[in-house]
């Protein structure tokens, strides 16, 4: 009996090693271990043995049965794993093909800079105001202390629609329009499009500015320095050197031109800063009492500062551009870069 058992086991293992599919393994399993299987048949023969022999043979058969069962299952598991691996192998894709998505557009670099500036001032509590681009001479010049026949008008070459109507040359008229309607305290920025009769590599007849002003009791030139220093540090980095130098604008006094250390050469002098090491970034000053009188504020009660920032200039510095006209050609290959 034990000899037959041994033979049967080695036959089964031999056949199992030749099996190449899970089906074949299951068939073998049924043939040997099924209810009508060959190993099961041996168990049925136990009845003809003495109780002692029966016990011994029974144990032997069960041991073989268990080890065969294990072998069959192992083989089946191995075959199954191999099959899944093959299937996954077949499902492999070329992950280096480009991804599929809707390519988002971009905002114009001028808008991006403008929004960055708006955000910085919004954080300082400045409201946003806007005004017309086709403007009255009164708001663009007169009320800003620039009477007709004043040579300072030469600083801004103007497009005219009629004697009294023009394309605003700066966003400063919004200052007057806001102050006419509201009383201090005021903290306002006015972003917008402005126009000057000028066209070359650093000038376009249309460009953008952000005007800003603050009017309250006790506002000082020192505060102007504080706010603009905060602004320039936010925009260009905390370590940017800044200098304030005297300048002239008809609607502010004292007036200042604000420079930052050249971002291209770091101050040693280059083409962008014309060798000076400094780059002019904005104009500012304390609002003149004359301007306050136009809007019926008492200059003894209120003081304020105003500033104007050219957006294109900042965009050009930020992105290292040397021809401002690129900004208005709207070449999509250019606009995609920002």
């Amino acid at each position: 009996m034990s000899a037959r058992l041994e033979k049967l086991a080695s036959e089964a293992l031999g056949e199992l090693s030749g099996a190449s599919s899970i089906d074949a393994v299951l068939q073998l399993k049924t043939r040997y271990l099924g209810r009508k299987g060959e190993v099961t048949a041996l168990l049925k023969e136990l009845g003809s043995l003495s109780p002692e022999e029966r016990k011994k043979a029974g144990e032997a058969i069960n041991t073989v049965k268990a080890s065969l069962e294990e072998a069959f299952d192992e083989k089946a598991a191995a075959l199954e794993a191999g099959g899944r691996a093959a299937r996954l192998q077949k499902e492999r894709i070329d992950i280096t093909l480009p991804g599929r998505s809707v390519r988002p557009g971009r905002m114009h670099p001028v808008t991006q800079v403008m929004e960055e500036i708006e955000e910085i001032f919004s954080g300082l509590g400045f409201d946003v105001a806007e005004g017309p681009e086709v403007e009255l001479d009164y708001y663009n010049f007169e009320a800003l202390n620039l009477p007709k026949d004043h040579p300072a008008r030469d600083m801004q070459d103007t497009f005219y629609v009629s004697d009294e109507v023009l394309l605003r040359t700066h966003t400063s008229p919004v200052q007057i329009r806001v102050m006419e309607k509201e009383r201090p305290p005021l903290r306002v920025i006015a972003p917008g499009t402005v126009y000057r009769r000028d066209s070359d590599i650093t000038h376009t007849p249309m460009f953008h500015q952000v005007e800003g002003f603050m009017v309250d009791k006790g506002v000082t030139f020192s505060n102007l320095k504080g706010v603009l220093t905060h602004f320039l540090h936010s925009l260009f980095g905390d370590k940017t050197d800044i200098r304030f130098r005297t300048s002239f604008f008809p609607f502010t006094e004292p007036s200042a031109e604000v420079d930052i250390r050249c971002v291209i050469c770091g101050g040693s002098g280059c083409r962008v800063c014309k060798g000076s090491g400094w780059i002019e970034i904005l104009g500012a000053g304390m609002i003149r009492p004359e301007v306050f009188k136009f809007v019926k504020y008492d200059p003894e009660e209120f003081t304020g500062f105003a500033f104007g920032i050219g957006i294109e200039r900042i965009a050009m510095l930020k992105y290292g551009m040397d021809d401002i006209r690129m900004l208005f050609e709207n070449d999509l290959r250019f606009l995609r870069q920002f």
């Binding site: 400045f126 946003v128 300072a152 903290r187 309250d216 200098r243 006094e253 004292p254 999509l332 995609r336």
Partner: protein, 794 residues
């Protein structure tokens, strides 16, 4: 303005180096744009004398010279013709280095050896043009390094702001330099050796009523000899951008440069009646100015006239007929003060600007008139000889009175935000020659010098204090203010939303000029419309303010297609301008253009071309984002759009924009071979509904029941109409109506189309019974068949 450092130094003791001076000027309000070293920029050039000049044996145009330096004789081949034996010249020897990296080497020119070069001023870098070689004065010593004759200087280029007319002169710059550096300023004296004859015997001056002239002074010099000015004066003028004319005219220009007082010299013999009358021109009068142009005058212009006619345009330019020429023997020198606005108006009207008008417009020192006149007489006497008539005519009816300004130390400190203190302020005033008298506690009565015409009030003085104190010495402090966040305003808020959504949908933002050509303006019709046109455009291409953004977007499309960018989705957010009213109406528009494939061309997208519904989809998404709940689209006629593929948008019953396919008539204009789609939305109309607070709606608690219907219907029946009709059958029980198929052709007859819709029925209050659903569904079907003549397919 250009000025020479050496000339400036004639007015000082102890001024700092050119670069330090430039820095001080820049920081205190006069930006120095450049400092250029001038003068000798060469080595190895010595003075020498031409001994002989012979013809070059092999070249007609060249000569062969012997040139002696006093120690040695050299053979020189030369191309110039302007020298003769005995002339003193500047000789560059072998090894000399000339500007532009030009080294002189031993060389053979057409077979003849040359041992150096006789130089022209151009070759020495002294001038931009010259004729022939430089001939030196006969008394020049020989064998001396020529660079020692040339000397060196620094030319400053200053950006003088329009308020500082007082800086438009050497003297003015010197006064300023003294104030900002602490150097000591010395004025110059010009003693005049006057003759016996009194000036009154030579000429008379009258200022007529109404003339904008507050002072007119004149001196006469008789017996002058007109000729060229000495070299140093010519060079000085030329270095400052003024061409040398003759000794008398050069003196007037020299005085203008040095003192800032414009001067004019008349040939007294040509003044009719020996009279000067300052008056307004009479309409119809004309004058030929010294530039040879005839100018028509009118009563707004001030002129200098003699007994009969205008002889100069006051403060702008003199007349040709009375100018100083070689024949002149007696000159009348004018030194006057003309009203800035009057000079500016005249100059603008004539389109004629001069060094003189530029200074008068910015304010000339009324008190400097006489001194300038003396300087001119002194120099003319020196350069042109003659006799200066005794005394001066000086018509100065109302002497200028500079009003003292009340200056409060506290006000200054409050504006500046720094402790400058009384002593500091007084020291600054002293440097600026502002006379300050204490008039109360912390209050001064301050009188600026007469030339500082820009200092009129307390704030002007505060700026003076601040700039001399130094902006960089003022502390940097943040203001104290209420802690209130900024309010972006509605336009800024909607703009941000529109831009964010459109860029997220794949659109690139463009920014175009607001002005277009008349032709582009006319594209959007109607014919003959009135636009907002510029009086003085830079070019015709930029002459009218646009009334639509669409033509600009189409130009952008054309531009990009020409550069092989064939997928174009762009938008612009900007105002358009409509004529009418004192100011034109400005309407903000959000406009876009789609062209190219629906999906980005790639390896795995279907290659479909965009169509109307892509554009409409973008508009719908945008409206949804802005919070528009109901939008209506209706067919519309628009000059730019395909008549069968154009829609007008209404929001809240108001027109809010258009969208559609570009009219095929425009394909050629923009170089298209496939359709482009456009939309233009009216931001103001959207603003009314934008930003409303959203209200929560309860989620449905009862089940829905959906039924599909497919039917065939006339092609001309708009789906939108059908949709509204079905929705209205029962607004409570019909939850949704969705279109899920549109089909033409096949077994569908010509002129008809097949539509398939899914209607979802639901009540918010209970579960609908099968019978209820059946009832309402049959009403829907009936409506379709009865009203729209639909043929139900399933």
């Amino acid at each position: 303005m250009l000025f020479s450092y050496n000339w400036l130094k004639e007015y000082f003791e102890g001024v700092c180096s050119p670069s330090e001076l430039a820095e001080r000027f820049t920081m205190t309000g006069t930006e120095i744009e450049s400092v250029t070293k001038t003068g000798a920029n060469f080595t190895g050039v010595v003075t020498a004398q031409v001994v002989t000049i012979d013809k070059h044996p092999n070249a007609d145009k060249l000569s062969f010279c012997k040139v002696n330096t006093g120690k040695e004789e050299f053979s020189i081949v030369c191309g110039a013709k302007n020298m003769k034996p005995g002339d003193k010249v500047a000789l560059a020897l072998i090894g000399a280095e000339l500007p532009g990296d030009f080294k002189i080497k031993r060389s053979k020119i057409r077979g003849v050896e040359s041992e150096g070069m006789m130089c022209s001023e151009v070759e020495l870098g002294l001038k931009d043009t010259s004729e022939g070689i430089l001939i030196l004065p006969p008394d020049t010593p020989l064998g001396v390094d020529y660079s020692s004759f040339v000397g060196s200087d620094f030319m400053f280029e200053a950006g003088v702001t329009p308020n500082r007319g007082d800086l438009l002169s050497i003297k003015g710059m010197a006064r300023e330099a003294a104030a900002i550096t602490g150097a000591v300023f010395h004025d110059k004296d010009f003693p005049v050796d006057e003759g016996e004859a009194n000036v009154a015997g030579f000429a008379s001056v009258e200022i007529a009523a109404g003339a904008h002239c507050r002072r007119y002074a004149a001196k006469v010099v008789e017996g002058v000899t007109i000729g060229p000015s000495p070299e140093d004066i010519r060079q000085r003028l030329e270095a400052h951008g003024i061409r040398s004319i003759n000794n008398v005219v050069d003196v007037t220009n020299l005085v203008l440069l040095e003192t800032g007082q414009p001067m004019h010299a008349f040939d007294l013999a040509r003044l009719k009646g020996k009279k000067i009358i300052v008056r307004q021109a009479v309409p119809g009068e004309k004058i030929e100015t010294i530039d040879g142009k005839e100018r028509a005058l009118d009563e707004a212009m001030m002129v200098i006239a003699d007994a009969e006619r205008p002889v100069a345009i006051a403060g702008v330019m003199g007349g040709k007929d009375t100018e100083v020429t070689e024949a002149t023997t007696t000159v009348l020198l004018e030194s006057a003060w003309f009203d800035p606005s009057s000079v500016r108006r005249t100059s603008k009207k004539l389109g004629l600007s001069s060094d003189s008008s530029f200074r008068f417009e910015r304010g000339v020192d009324m008190e400097g008139v006489e001194k300038a006149l003396e300087m001119a007489a002194h120099l003319i006497n020196k350069l042109a000889g003659g006799w200066v008539a005794r005394g001066a005519i000086d018509i100065y009816p109302v002497k200028q009175h500079v009003n003292p300004i009340e200056f409060r130390v506290k006000r200054a400190e409050d504006l500046i935000g720094a402790q400058v203190e009384e002593a500091g302020i007084l020291e600054i005033f002293r440097k600026l020659r502002i006379i300050a008298k204490k008039s109360g506690h912390g209050v001064f009565s301050a009188t600026p010098p007469s030339y500082r015409v820009d200092l009129k009030n307390e704030t002007d003085l505060v700026e003076e204090v601040a700039r001399i104190f130094g902006y960089n010495n003022i502390p940097t402090t943040l203001p104290v203010a209420r802690l209130i966040p900024g309010n972006p305003g509605r336009l800024s808020a909607i703009r941000k939303q529109v831009k964010t959504l459109l860029t997220a949908t794949g659109f690139m933002e463009v920014i175009n000029y607001s002005f277009v050509s008349k032709e582009t303006f006319s594209v959007t019709g109607p014919e003959g419309k009135k636009g907002v046109a510029l009086i003085n455009p830079l070019t015709e291409e930029q002459s009218v303010m646009r009334d639509s953004l669409l033509p600009s977007l189409l130009d952008n499309l054309k531009f990009n297609l020409a550069r092989k960018t064939e997928e174009v989705r762009i938008f612009e957010f900007a105002p358009v301008f409509l004529a009418g009213g004192k100011l034109p109406q400005e309407k903000w528009k959000a406009s876009g253009l789609l062209f190219g494939q629906r999906f980005e061309p790639g390896w795995s997208f279907p290659k479909d071309w965009v169509d109307f519904f892509d554009a409409k989809g973008v508009v719908e998404k945008l409206l949804e984002k802005l919070g528009v709940e109901r939008a209506e689209f209706a067919p519309v006629e628009h000059p730019l759009l395909h008549p069968g593929k154009a829609a007008a948008l209404k929001v809240g019953g108001k027109a809010a924009g258009v969208l559609g396919e570009l009219h095929p008539d425009f394909w050629d204009r923009y170089g298209l071979r496939k359709p482009a789609y456009l939309f233009e939305l009216d931001v103001d109309s959207l603003m009314d509904v934008f930003g409303k607070t959203k209200k929560y709606r309860q989620l449905p608690r009862f089940p829905e029941s959906a039924r599909d219907i497919a039917f065939v219907i006339d092609e001309g029946t708009p789906f939108g109409e059908l949709l509204r009709t079905v929705q209205k059958i029962d607004t409570k029980l019909i939850d949704k109506v969705e279109l899920f198929d549109v089909y033409y052709g096949g077994n569908i007859p010509q002129g008809r189309r097949s539509l398939a819709i899914r209607v979802t029925y639901r009540s918010m209050e209970r579960t609908l019974t099968a019978q209820e659903v059946e009832d309402i569904h049959s009403r829907v079907v009936r409506e379709l068949t009865d009203r729209f003549k639909a043929e139900i397919r399933s």
